[in-house]
Amino acid sequence: MEEGYVTEDGRKIGGVVMEMKNITLRFGGVVAIKDISFDIRQGEIRAIIGPNGAGKSSMLNVISGFYVPQEGQVLYQGKPRPQMRPYEVARQGIARTFQNIALFEGMSVLDNVMTGRLNYMKTGLFSQALWKGKAEKEETENREVVEKVIDFLEIQHIRKTPVARLPYGLKKRVELARALAAEPSLLLLDEPMAGMNVEEKEDMSRFILDVNDEFGTTIALIEHDMGVVMDLSDRVVVMDYGKKIGDGTPDEVRNNQDVIDAYLGVAHD
């Protein structure tokens, strides 16, 4: 599989962007992730699913570099990742959203999305405060990118609204906007549809597909809702009790006996 593959709908998937090699993650005596290996390829939508407590979020945190596994290796673009600070991760072109929304509640949508551009702002505090010359030009350029994202996610009408006043579904969209404003090459979504109604889920699915289609962004997402995952993803990793029990296309996974057991339950002896 070195050269990638072609999806059912004809998209070309490239080489490996990120590779997990025999990852094991422990918190004291608790083993959250046990010897898991899989890869994420250029341009694909890769889902990690599993029942509650399967270790999905821990896995995403390993991918993002927030947790460092005790064993195994994470290779990003062929290079092993050292322990990194969040801003270093962001500079590598990785952006993420959170399961429980982490926005600046008192700030407007626009300002929140602008924070996604922080890595592209080079001028100092002083010149930004004066807002002269370079700082002004820089803000204009970054604002242009942000406006494209706002247009893309159809949130023009709440541009100036403080985030705290928005309903949940829109907050999720704003969070996605902030992640997109960073123009990531790898986008990590932690339960993007959690707590949404059907219509909001449909909207969000459409946006995720559009992001992938329009910008070619590689997307790794964790999701509970099986229906959504199967519709969206190109390949799915299934976890249960910290172990990988399935990996493949949605169809392959759907017919995997271990996966069925994990979801529907099976008598434990």
């Binding site: 004809g10 406006e147 247009d151 893309f152 023009q156 009408h157 559009d210 289609d213 329009e214």
Partner: protein, 657 residues
């Protein structure tokens, strides 16, 4: 100006007008659209270039003279250009309501045999693809927004900008053809075909000629002294004749600027930013704004609220007279000035009416209280009466002669006649050519001398010469007692209450009237919040005893005011029910321009009407609903029927004529 001699000056088509504007007002803004947070602007010269490129692209794509090109989307400069480009290649533009469900779309596209479709985005393209099997004439589709469309089969699907690029590339090949086709356009060529939404039956395609459009635009622009320095905000459906006349007809005739909002939801913000000088809206928009102002004032501090109500009361007293130039005492004038600084001015700015010179409301009768509210603030809001078949204008209110209860005097060049049954007929240069492929309807609407029956009942006031509309001719009826039944009159009174969104009155042929009420979720929801009333859904809120109680009070107040009108005192509401769902165009209960389809509502909710008359206290019912994507579902509810006090009517018994 050379504008006065339209025909003689050769300005007999949109492309001729465009050419004039591109030469004479080359650097003036023609279109603005807010995109990416900024108002993007095109001058007339740029517009002419864009339209030319598209027109060449259309020829390149094989568009023939006489082809129909359907245009589906919200108000965007590109889509307005499409209409002009279509016309300039001899094709006929057919704007379609962008919120039409697939079946409605299928009917229209099939009826006109559209060969080409220009759609705004993926959503619209998907809708057309879904019904493609039923459309045998469809050849190519052009879309504006490429988002999400990369994977579509592009054999017959083209991106708007690519069509333009191909047009530019093929300039040398096609420019002579384009000029030749433009040259062939006369005053009698078809300018546009618009489908009437129709409160009854299938939509009809109204064919309007260049003469209809240009003459109507010219006359109405002269009437209100419109100039090329106007700014308008185009947000009403492009498929509606009003938008076509304002955003294309008048805009091209006068050469003023058309501003398009960023998205449907940003309309109010955009309105404030543009501050149009000439504005057009159906009563619904004014009602909605008034409701939201009132709600926000309820939430304001006591001081502000007091000031607001105090000055508003003063405006109500003298504002209208000041606007009409009638004599008003000095003290009152001074106080009004102060009010303007403290309340009216800021309020107008917030609403986006700070610069307005002329505002029109049409489409439906506006509640007198709403109308007077805006006039009292100094906004020159006027009424006009029109139809698609008349290219809008039948009657208009001249400045200084504005009243809430009339629709004005005949527009320039319009003749009016009331027939024996009270139905209004008119004849004007704006009278439509025909209903497309429907000679029968054409003949029954327009007679050999060019008189058109409006279907509305009304009379001309002898002293002022103004036309007064009573109701749709077929809606006006008689009650069992012989008293006149004119539902609109009562419904409009009910709808003035901010918490009532829609009302439907029944009682034709019966001994008493009953009504359906739709609550306004924004207003009632806000009220519920302030009164700590918890609710989970529209349905639950609509059935809440305290909501019913407050609606009952409104109904009783309306009954009192209806009882005061001699002719219509029989129309008091005896019993009513608050409906469990909003009447919706997707369910066929309203037209796309949001007029109630009385017959359909009557049929659909027949069980509720029966219950209203047979004295039962509750009624359980199940209603089919259609979701935006066309799927169907059902909601069931048990509705409480409420009795309202009526004022006894003693003297009246209008003799049947």
């Amino acid at each position: 100006m050379a504008q006065t001699q339209s025909g003689a000056a050769g300005l007999q088509s949109l492309s001729a007008l465009l050419e004039r504007n591109a030469t004479e007002f080359a650097d003036q803004p023609a279109y603005r659209e807010k995109e990416f947070g900024i108002w993007q602007c095109w001058t007339w010269a740029e517009t002419a270039k864009e339209i030319e490129a598209l027109a060449l692209g259309l020829i390149n794509l094989g568009v023939q003279e006489g082809d129909f090109i359907a245009i589906i989307g919200r108000n965007r400069p590109y889509l307005y250009w499409s209409m002009v480009a279509a016309q300039s290649v001899g094709a006929i533009p057919v704007p379609v309501y962008n919120d039409s469900a697939a079946e409605e779309l299928a009917y229209v596209l099939d009826h006109c045999g559209a060969r080409y479709v220009i759609a705004e985005d993926q959503e619209q393209v998907d809708k057309v693809l879904e019904i493609q099997d039923q459309l045998h004439d469809l050849k190519h589709m052009i879309y504006l927004d490429p988002r999400g469309m990369r994977k579509y089969d592009h054999h017959t699907l083209h991106q708007y900008s690519h069509v333009q690029e191909q047009g530019r590339a093929a300039y040398d090949e096609w420019i002579t053809d384009l000029k030749e086709r433009r040259g062939k356009l006369t005053y009698d060529s078809t300018c546009v075909m618009l489908y009437t939404s129709g409160t009854t039956g299938k939509p009809k395609g109204v064919v309007l000629s260049n003469r209809n459009v240009v003459e109507s635009a010219k006359n109405s622009a002269d009437f209100d002294g419109l100039t090329r320095s106007e700014d308008i905000l185009s947000y009403l459906p492009m498929a509606w004749v009003g938008d076509f006349i304002f955003s294309i007809g008048q805009a091209y005739w006068c050469g003023f600027c058309v501003n398009c909002p960023e998205s449907q939801d940003t309309m109010m913000t955009d309105l404030r930013e543009i501050g149009p000088t000439y504005f057009f809206a159906p009563p619904r928009v004014f009602e909605g704004q008034l409701t939201s102002v009132m709600i926000r004032m309820e939430d304001a501090g006591a001081m502000k609220r007091k000031m607001f109500h105090h000055f508003l009361a003063h405006a109500k007293k003298v504002g209208g007279d000041i606007l009409d130039g009638k004599p008003v005492g000095l003290m009152d004038r001074l106080k009004y000035k102060l009010g303007d600084i403290l309340v009216y001015g800021p309020l107008k700015d917030t609403l986006g009416y700070g610069r307005i010179r002329v505002g029109y409301t049409a489409g439906e009768a506006i509640g007198p209280e709403i109308f007077d509210f805006y006039r009292s603030l100094g906004i020159n809001l006027k009424q006009l009466y029109g139809q698609t078949e008349a290219t809008v204008f039948i009657t208009v209110q001249p400045d200084g002669e504005v009243r809430a209860d009339t629709v004005g005097v005949p527009a320039p060049d319009v003749e009016i006649r009331i027939d024996d049954n009270g139905e209004i007929h008119y004849r004007s240069p704006g009278v439509f050519v025909e209903y497309y492929k429907n000679a029968e309807s054409t003949a029954s609407t327009k007679d050999a001398e060019g008189w058109v029956a409006t279907g509305d009942a009304g009379f001309i006031e002898s002293d002022s010469g103004h036309l007064r509309i009573i109701d749709r001719a077929k809606d006006v009826g008689k009650m069992a007692s012989g008293a006149m039944f004119a539902p609109k009159y009562v419904e409009n009174k009910l709808k003035f209450y901010p918490d009532i969104l829609e009302a439907v009155l029944f009682g034709n042929g019966k001994d008493r009237c009953v009504a359906f009420i739709n609550i306004d979720l924004t207003a009632v929801g806000n009220w519920a919040e302030r009164n700590n009333i918890a609710y989970a859904s529209y349905q639950e809120l609509a059935g809440h005893p305290r909501v019913l109680e407050s609606i009952r009070q409104h109904v009783e107040e309306v009954n009192k005011s209806v009882a005061a009108d001699e002719m219509l005192s029989g129309c008091q509401v005896h019993r009513f029910v608050v409906l469990h769902k909003e009447l919706d165009a997707d369910d066929g209960e309203m037209t796309r321009t949001r007029k109630v389809r009385r017959r359909i509502v009557e049929e659909k909710f027949n069980d509720i009407i029966t219950a209203l008359y047979d004295g039962s206290e509750k009624i359980s019912t199940t209603t089919e609903v259609t979701y935006e994507d066309g799927r169907k579902g059902a909601i069931s509810a048990t509705l409480t029927i409420v009795d309202a006090k009526v004022v006894p009517v003693t003297t009246q018994q209008v003799a049947a004529e």
